[in-house]
Subunit: 323 residues, 3 copies
């Protein structure tokens, strides 16, 4: 669509690009969330929906991502739309011959009703949106940039459990320095009131100074902690991410902290409460022990994934739906 | 689904994993076969079926297989279902980062109504089934393990022609030692009565001792032969497979036998009868001469492939169909 | 279908292979074009068409081509058909094991209602058609051979603007020696009356002697020109293609001509007229400057691409449509 930077949604999603979480007001977020129960119903129904009937949506994936690809492909098909799936266009002859990114986008917008784009480079989705004249662009992750539907599904998962997005206490654990999903979640929760987040990470992986300053200007309380004994017992959710060994200069320092950043039954018993939910953006490697999977509070492998599907369906309905 | 080893079907396919041919009783096999005429009709009709309406089935292919992939993709679409197609997930970022096979399966089951899995490693489909809690797993070939729908289509092709699966005489030719499809066919026919199979192969490629012992305990008569002059003239079917040169230690031995294991018009004329069918699991390289393709008994390039489609449609209907 | 060389259409497309532009008479071309408005309407409608309902069409792409792939995939889905998409079958196990091209075609025709084939090697589509016994083959480009739907969309784009295909003046610029699309367009326009084409190219990239002789036997007037000052001001269309530096033996000669073969606002102002259209088969690299994109006469990035979609839809309807 013709525009300079991603437009604010302001209650009207129809035909707009979805590039950044910053486009959403709290009301927009609530709008999306209010559609989730209906989307879940559609996904479980045998009868396909007609919400995207006759719509062709290009999935333009410059890097493989089975999870996000599968989720968008499923969401579109559950709504009765169809996909044209392009994997790794950069290896295709036209691009190899030197076709610009801009021309590639304009080619695919000529075929389709929308383009869902995934790209390893920050800013690409926004560039695509600046080029596309006729159809909306939906950002499915642009490198270290944004992945707005991931942020939405994380927020929704908390909302679904606790029926609110304010007055929450959360623990974010792992890599605060580089974690894109962690940053999005902080930004998301700061739109609402009186939330407190405990950021559990080794020194080396604390928020960068600039991120810390940026976030503390917002309406959110951040408490940086370094030891598991600092975990508050009244948390509504734990959001766990991976601490990578290779981020440490000294192996000894890694050895010292590594066990504080692995969720075990013991850790859950000691610091958790019956009401919390244990989240993870996935892929999970070793930072949550397998024995924890069967705990009813562990919702990363089923509820979160399905919420990702429903939230994407809701967003597609609002942006492209004909009914 | 929650289970330890593949469940017996026992007349009820609904929601069950399809991992191994051993899950089927003769009655289950007949159930599948009885649906084939209806499936053929659906495939030829212009109106899409609603048997899988609203269903999303993930095709999770860890190795490429155009034939099996195409057949399952077509079967699902002919029944009105939709596919989410994932090629080579092991190259995708999540798996590359170290995500376990188990987590990958649980991610895809959260999106879908079933997972059709193809994997180069034996036992993988069964592992997937042990992990998947909510949707059935269908084995589309796990290396040297099983490929139950291939076995079904071979049996059906014989059944369609001869209207019975007992009192048959068959010739299985080529590599008895390593041939997965040959082993499945022997196992399949041993479920029925009074079948005799002549196993034509060079010495080096005879059944292993353990396979021979296993098979001869079953209700089937096996006759190992080494020369084309031993081919019985009353065979109901020839099931030809490839003899690979590289399996021989001495080239001379290969040279001695190689011509006995190629189907020519001459061979068909000398040892065949008007009523037999010439089958091949494909790909066929040189072991059936091209001139034979036009013989009406040569059914590998059309009838067998289409039967594979119909048998898969029937199995999907029984396992997942809503009507 | 059983046949030796591509059959003339002669007013009846149903079930025929589409291999070469030479199969079409002017009446056949007009038939296709007369359907385009209806196809456009279908593409814009929310309700999916039923013209290809229940049809499965295999897209068998031996080389990647995002543009043609996307166009055919979209065309089929807009008409209510379904695709089975096979990328790079040559890397798949069956073909890697030595399966012949002929067997691959026969496997896929057993699943499908038609095969759209793309292959880097000239003559492959025709070979596929000679093998396929039951379903039509549609050529989506066979190397330096043909790409009949590209030729159709170029002709249609001119026809749509000028409402005729005779008495036209056109400028074809760039590489006349190697340009497949240029040759097709000359051949296409020579089916109609009193067309004049100015072929603007550096000496090194003029038509080959044999092509020139072939074309001048046809009912078309060709004028070879070498300088932009020779561009006629009354052209109905400019059809621009790329001049590749590496085609020149002497860099100096390239330097001398290169600026004559780049479309700029200035060039358009000096030699263009308000009524012409500026076409390009894409990908466009640098031979049309970006500033030209916003000129209303520049139709390569939207109108041509969409016409490609509509023309393919029309052809599929005529060849395979059930209504």
């Amino acid at each position: 669509m013709l525009r300079q930077s991603p437009q604010k949604i302001n209650g009207n999603f129809k035909g707009k690009d979805i590039i950044s979480f910053d486009q959403f007001s709290t009301r927009d977020i609530k709008n999306i969330f209010s559609l989730v129960p209906k989307m879940r119903k559609i996904a479980l129904l045998a009868k396909p929906s007609k919400i995207l009937a006759g719509k062709i949506i290009v999935l333009l994936f410059y890097e493989p991502s089975s999870r996000t690809f599968g989720s968008f492909s499923t969401a579109i098909k559950q709504l009765g739309g169809q996909t044209v799936e392009i994997h790794n266009p950069q290896e295709f002859s036209s691009v190899a011959k030197g076709e610009t990114f801009e021309d590639t986008i304009r080619v695919f917008e000529a075929y389709s009703d929308a383009i869902v784009i995934r790209h390893p480079q920050k800013g690409t989705a926004s560039n695509a949106a600046a080029v596309a004249k006729f159809v909306p662009i939906i950002n499915a992750g642009d490198g270290t940039g944004e992945h707005p539907t991931q942020a939405l599904l994380d927020l929704y998962t908390i909302y679904e459990k606790h029926e609110k997005l304010d007055n929450l206490v959360g623990v974010l654990a792992g890599d605060m320095l580089n974690g894109r999903t962690v940053h999005s979640l902080i930004r998301g929760l700061s739109l609402f009131k009186k939330n407190t987040l405990y950021l559990l990470s080794p020194k080396q992986l604390k928020l960068s100074k600039s991120d810390f300053e940026d976030f503390t200007k917002r309406a959110i309380k951040l408490v940086e902690i370094e030891k598991e004994t600092d975990i508050p017992k009244n948390a509504h959710f734990w959001y766990w991410t991976r601490v990578q060994k290779e981020r440490f200069k000294k192996l000894k320092e890694y050895e010292k902290v590594k066990n504080s950043f692995i969720v075990t039954q013991k850790l859950l018993k000691k610091y958790g409460n019956p009401n919390l939910i244990l989240m993870h953006p996935l892929p999970r490697i070793y930072e949550i022990e397998k024995e924890v999977d069967s705990d009813p509070r562990a919702i990363y492998l089923k509820t979160e994934i399905r919420n990702g599907l429903y939230v994407r369906m809701a967003l597609l309905k609002l942006t492209l739906g004909i009914i």
